[in-house]
């Protein structure tokens, strides 16, 4: 099992490395989802390098914590974190979306170790995550389940079926995290179909809510710790984020939802993400 430590600077650097890997693999693939992979990079770095208990050498370790990427289009982020955590060789990242690669356009659990749930069709991950949470309780295990959702995804009715179920069955070993980057394919969520007030919606479904800046590593880490302490009901962390975060030319731009950077854009991005030592 990895030794996790609360080291904010270390976690920020891990998030930076994730962003670099995401952009490199997307550029190589020539297609994929840039904006929503970058917006959740800090959250996922905190999960994999601080919070989750797992053994990359034993992906099916029964006592591991589970991560469900309900917003499956952020697959590059998941692949980057799994590679850096040691589930598979980093060179595999260059095969994203290519014929024969286990790095499918959207995650497939049968093909790649570390992928807990096959996702890509929005709105289903929270139900699966809650099913895992219920199963873990039946097994008498203390493992926790984390489920990352997109904000556009909250327009799916099944999310609210699952929200109702998780609170009915008091799944306090379940923590949902919503990447509230404010944008969906057709434009700002507020103009396509408003989802606010998200906090009141979850509260009325019986959930604990914690609202944070999803790019403030200390806030993310605190929220994950706090969620673990809250008993009797599931908790959702509402993380306000910026789509395309980390690269100025992608930040807040709707069009980078579903397109990959060009080699020129990658060059700009890598300069911005550089730590000044050429890494």
């Amino acid at each position: 099992m990895l030794v996790q430590k609360r080291d904010i600077e270390y976690l920020k650097n891990q998030a930076r490395i994730l962003r670099i890997e995401i952009l490199k693999m997307l550029t190589e693939a020539g297609s994929g989802h840039t904006g929503g992979s970058l917006s959740a990079a800090d959250i996922v770095a905190a999960l994999y390098f601080y919070k989750l208990r797992y053994k990359p050498e034993d992906p099916q370790w029964p006592e591991r914590d589970r991560f469900v990427l309900s917003k499956g289009h952020a697959a590059p982020l998941l692949y980057a974190v799994l590679a850096i955590s040691g589930y598979f060789d980093k060179s595999l990242l260059r095969t994203l979306r290519k014929l024969g690669s286990p790095l499918q356009g959207h995650p497939c659990s049968k093909m790649l170790p570390g992928v807990e749930v096959s996702t890509g069709s929005l709105g289903q991950g929270l139900s699966v995550a809650n099913g895992i949470a219920m199963g873990l309780k039946l097994q008498g295990l203390n493992s926790r389940v984390y489920c990352l959702l997109g904000d556009g995804e909250l327009q799916e009715g099944q999310v609210w079926e699952a929200a109702m179920t998780a609170s009915h069955y008091k799944s306090d070993n379940l923590c949902a995290i919503v990447d509230l980057n404010g944008l969906q394919i057709d434009g700002p969520i507020s103009s396509v179909k408003n989802i606010e007030p998200v906090d009141k919606k979850f509260q009325s479904f019986g959930w604990n809510t914690i609202e944070i800046d999803g790019h403030d590593m200390a806030q993310i880490v605190d929220a994950l710790d706090r969620a673990e302490e809250l008993k009797g009901a599931p908790t959702v962390i509402l993380a306000r984020t910026i789509k395309g975060k980390g690269v100025s030319i992608f930040e807040g731009k709707v069009k980078y939802h579903g397109i990959a950077p060009t080699p020129e854009e990658l060059e700009i991005a890598l300069k911005e993400l550089s730590d000044g030592t050429g890494n």
Binding site: V128, I132, M134
Partner: protein, 327 residues
């Protein structure tokens, strides 16, 4: 604790009743079995399991999509989830959840739906699944089973617990007469031939097996040598048995389902790839169901043994005039 019925062999009962009893019985032995229902446990008969093992029963309320994906999650912790509701809601409402969250990952979830077909009766078309076999069969890696009677249902439920992988089982609401013999053993992918005919072979599933057997008697009296096969596993199809069956001059399929995409579709797809043979598909002829008693509806849709026999005789005489020859 309540006792489970030991065996449905020879009993006239609804397949859903056999399911409820068998689930309850297996639940006593196998602690990994968990059951989910969507507010229909008294109709799907999962209620007996629910009462006996409340910690392993999850009522999901009227949320079929959430139910299927939750079952997927439970299977990921080593449980064997049985998810039940009416066939139309299981396969129609939650089709994509079954595809994405269960079958694509080849998870060990058993979808056992009741109220398949028009024998649902009075509730009418909204509650009568005539497309479910087609909807489940088209998903890669899915196993699709339609038991013929209560006894076969019991054997199917026992067998799918031992089998790892996603399975769809279609059951009915109405009572069905026993057809499977005492020494019958169900195997996934293995059809059962009551007998093979030289002239006609009727390949049937579900409630239509009984009708096919009765129709075969009528045809025999008319001098048409007719065989009957219970093709209870629709996917994977027993191709070896179909190869045998296709020696007859006329192949007939009989199902309480649309003639599009179900058993008739599956058999036609296979037979057409091996030899030219006329295939008569008996089923719901591309139309919705409607209200009525189950017996009335069987007749209304032309699914009773005498109607089947008459359809087959008509087709048989057409072929005779065209001079069809056995291969």
């Amino acid at each position: 604790m309540e006792q489970a019925i030991k065996s449905f062999c020879g009993l006239e009962a609804a397949t859903r009743d056999a399911y409820g009893e068998t689930l309850f019985r297996l639940g006593q032995e196998n602690r990994d079995i968990v059951v989910l229902d969507a507010d229909l446990s008294s109709s799907t008969k999962t209620s007996k399991f629910a009462k006996a093992f409340p910690d392993r029963f999850f009522n999901m309320g009227v949320s079929e999509q959430d139910m299927m994906a939750t079952a997927a999650g439970l299977s990921l912790t080593g449980k064997i989830p049985f998810a039940s509701t009416f066939a139309i809601f299981a396969t129609g409402r939650a089709w994509e959840q079954i595809r994405q969250s269960i079958v694509y990952s080849h998870l060990n979830v058993k979808i056992v739906a009741t109220h398949g077909g028009i024998t649902v009766g009075e509730d009418g078309a909204s509650h009568q699944a005539i497309e479910d076999i087609a909807l489940m069969r088209v998903i890669p890696e899915m196993t699709v089973i339609v038991p013929a009677d209560a006894y076969e249902t019991e054997l199917v439920i026992e067998e799918i617990v031992k089998f790892y992988g996603p399975v769809y089982v279609r059951l009915g609401r109405a009572k069905v007469k026993p057809v499977m013999p005492e020494d019958y053993r169900f195997q996934i992918g293995k059809a059962y031939a009551f007998r093979l005919g030289n002239d006609v072979n009727i390949i049937a599933c579900g409630v239509m097996v009984k009708e096919a057997l009765d129709a075969a008697e009528i045809l025999k009296a008319k001098g048409i040598d007719t065989g009957v096969i219970n093709m209870s596993t629709i996917k994977p199809l027993d191709e070896k048995m179909l190869l045998e069956a296709a020696r007859a001059k006329l192949i007939v399929t009989a199902e309480e389902h649309s003639i599009i995409g179900g058993l008739g579709g599956a058999v036609s797809e296979y037979i057409s790839s091996i030899r030219p043979r006329p295939i008569l598909r008996i089923g719901i002829k591309d139309t919705f169901g409607c209200s009525g008693s189950s017996q009335e509806l069987m007749r209304f849709f032309g699914l009773t043994s005498d109607q089947i026999a008459s359809d087959i005789m008509k087709k048989w005489s057409e072929l005779a005039t065209k001079g069809a020859k056995p291969l």
